[in-house]
Every structure is written in structure tokens, then in C-alpha cells.
Symmetry: C2
């Protein structure tokens, strides 16, 4: 960890909307988000634009670029953000010398694989109400782990970004949020969010409103 600090360059500041890496650009460095937030945007072959990741402080960015040596999506700052650059060459050399560094990277990657898999498969089976609940619970937990408030936070994403990330439309996201407000579960004004009833939010996230039969063998 200390070694990692040695090869990390001082934090860079990105203005809102700045592009940290363009889709298809060669991987030169990984990044660690220090402050602010980024989104990863993928443009598919047939021209769709998808938000595939949200990067918050503490996150390691670019692990998905190692395979092909090329960033699979564009990284765009959602607000003024600070990121640390970790030159990939140096990181690789470090992994040569230190098995701890290697383990750290491997575990980060392994974590991401599992996390994406489970979360997204869960979302596939969920209603809009439950998807959003899952989303905010995950965000809340990430903020908590980083020492920020877990029940009151600002998300720089637009409703459209959230919708794209969750596979919904902006309208549905909006409507679901006002439902939460009516039920006194969450407060959403603009991009400020406040969780009022965490337990109820958890219940909503797990309630697979429809889709509740257990048909999978074994």
C-alpha cells in the first residue's frame, strides 16, 4: 500500500464534463478517484449510449481496460473531481517486486467481477421500484465505507444517467422517486438525496414485487 503511494502521481483536478479517458484510447494509467465522481459511458456498435459504471471516491478505475490495453468506455467527470494517476507500467513493475501489490490488484479485479455479476443479475429480475432501491442502498453503503454520510448525499448524475445505468427511462426514475417521497422513504430534491427510512428501503430493494416464483432447479 505504501509502495502504491510511491508510484502514484499527485492528484489532478478535472472540471465537470472533462473526459479522463476516451473510449478506445490506449491504457497508459489506471486511476483512483479521490474526490467527486465519474461515469463510464459505453457507445455500442449500433450507436446506443449506455452508462455502465459510476465511480465514487476510493474506487479504482480502469481495471476493465487491462485486457485489451484499451479503455472500453469513456470516463467523464460528473462534477469537479480529483483523481490520482497510477502509471500502468510502474504498477506492473511493482507487481513484479511485491506480491502484496499483485494480490491487491487481483482482489480488486475479482471483487469487481463478482459485484457486477450479482448486482446486475439481481437488477434484471427487479421492478423499477426495487432497482432504484438497490441503487441507492449501494451508493449509501459506498459513502458510508468512505466515511461520508450514508443517509444524506449529493449525486451529480442526471435522472437520465441513473435511468441508463439501471435500464429504465428518466420518466420512470422520476415517478419512482416521487413514490418514495409519498411513502416517506427518501427525499429527492434535484440532485440532493436523503434516506429517511433505511429499513423500508431495504424491504423495497428485496421485494421482487412480481417475479417471485422459484423456478430454478437445484
Amino acid at each position: 500500500m505504501a509502495l502504491l503511494g510511491e508510484i502514484t502521481r499527485p492528484a489532478v483536478t478535472l472540471e465537470k464534463g472533462a473526459i479522463l479517458a476516451r473510449q478506445g484510447a490506449a491504457l497508459c494509467s489506471l486511476f483512483a478517484v479521490h474526490t467527486g465522481s465519474l461515469k463510464q459511458v459505453n457507445v455500442t456498435d449500433n450507436g446506443e449510449t449506455l452508462v455502465t459504471a459510476l465511480c465514487l471516491p476510493g474506487d479504482m478505475v480502469g481495471l476493465d481496460a487491462i485486457d485489451k490495453g484499451v479503455f472500453p468506455g469513456s470516463l467523464i467527470a460528473l462534477e469537479t473531481s480529483g483523481v490520482c494517476e497510477i502509471p500502468y507500467e510502474k504498477l506492473d513493475a511493482l507487481c513484479d517486486r511485491s506480491r502484496e501489490a499483485r494480490w491487491l490488484i487481483q482482489r480488486c479485479q475479482s471483487h469487481d467481477i463478482h459485484d457486477e455479476r450479482l448486482k446486475l443479475h439481481l437488477l434484471l429480475h427487479r421492478t423499477a421500484e426495487a432497482r432504484l432501491a438497490c441503487f441507492f442502498l449501494a451508493i449509501s453503503e459506498r459513502f458510508r465505507l468512505r466515511g461520508y454520510s450514508s443517509h444524506h448525499f449529493r449525486l451529480a448524475m442526471t435522472r437520465s444517467d441513473i435511468a441508463s445505468y439501471l435500464g429504465l427511462t428518466p420518466e420512470t426514475v422520476g415517478r419512482t422517486l416521487v413514490n418514495y417521497q409519498r411513502q416517506n422513504v427518501m427525499l429527492a430534491r434535484g440532485r440532493e438525496f436523503r434516506i429517511l427510512d433505511l429499513e423500508q428501503l431495504k424491504r423495497l430493494a428485496e421485494a421482487n414485487g412480481r417475479r417471485h416464483r422459484q423456478r430454478v432447479s437445484q
Copy 2:
């Protein structure tokens, strides 16, 4: 690669339904699928059962277990299958000695992160018809890369497994398949599948029937 062969144990045969690793079991070995196929099944905290991965010949299995040192889902043979065991300790030691081995593992992991992310986010936005088309295209491509027929194959999964994997119901999977048949795109009898019109299948996979507005900023 040759070194990897040295530490790999001879292939083991699994009977249909056999459990290669149980969810929560400690990670001792990774596996490489040689013949047959496995599914990964996750039981969530609230008792849902999800099929989160399909493992075909050539796939590396267990990369998602490295993080916590524990398998995040059960690995179940869908048919009589042959797998090679790769003791994790030895693999780790090998990574110490050979940067090529380390790169191989890192690239496998990186590939999985990106693949899951993109494919699942795509699915989130797709109708049942397109989800199944994506699914079969991906399978077909995987078989092709391994030297099997890309337009005619057997999938040992049940409709329920497929449904769970794609976030649909078995009924919808079935109905969609008969639609494909009516359109002469695919033939599905039992677990034998034949792709009749690859181009049309690609078109179906990309056609996001609904959900076709571009609302994401940037």
C-alpha cells in the same frame, strides 16, 4: 502457458448435477472447463436463486472467488463434464515466478469485468426477444472460438435456467423461441438449437424494440 499446464492436475469427470464448488466454500483451486458445461448459481440473502454464469469449454472458473477467498456461488455441472483443477497456491506461486502467468490471469479477470458489465447493461435495456438473441449470439460465438459448430449446438440448460440467467420467466423464453421458429431465425427442439439466419438474429439482438431514445447526455 506451458507452465500453467505443469501445475494443472489431470481432468476430473463430473456427473450431471454434481457440485464442483459450493457457495461459501473456501477457494482452494480454480478450474478450467474442458468438456461439458456448468452453471453458477447464487442464492441471495433473501432466498432468491439466480443463475449468474454459464461456463463452457475453455472458460476459467473461480476468478470471482479470489477476492474473499470463498466461492460466491455454487458451480453445478449441467451435464457430464470434464474440468481441470488448478491449485490456487501453485498458481499464485507461479505468478510470483512468471510475469506471463500474472498477465494471463489479470487479463482473464479484466476481460470478465468488461464483458459482464457491458453484456448485462445491454440486457437491462432489451426486450425478451433481443435478450435471447444476444444470449444465443454470445453462445454461438463462444462455440465458434473453441472450434465447435457455431450454428448448431446443444445447451444442457433448462428453459428455467436460461430464464433466470436473462431475468425472464420460462414461459417468456419458450414463447420467444417459438416466435424465432415462426420467423425461421432459429430452430429449438428440446435442448438442441440451430441458428438458421444469423444476420436476422443479429438484427433482433440489436433492435431495442422499445427503449430506443437517446437520452443520455454526452
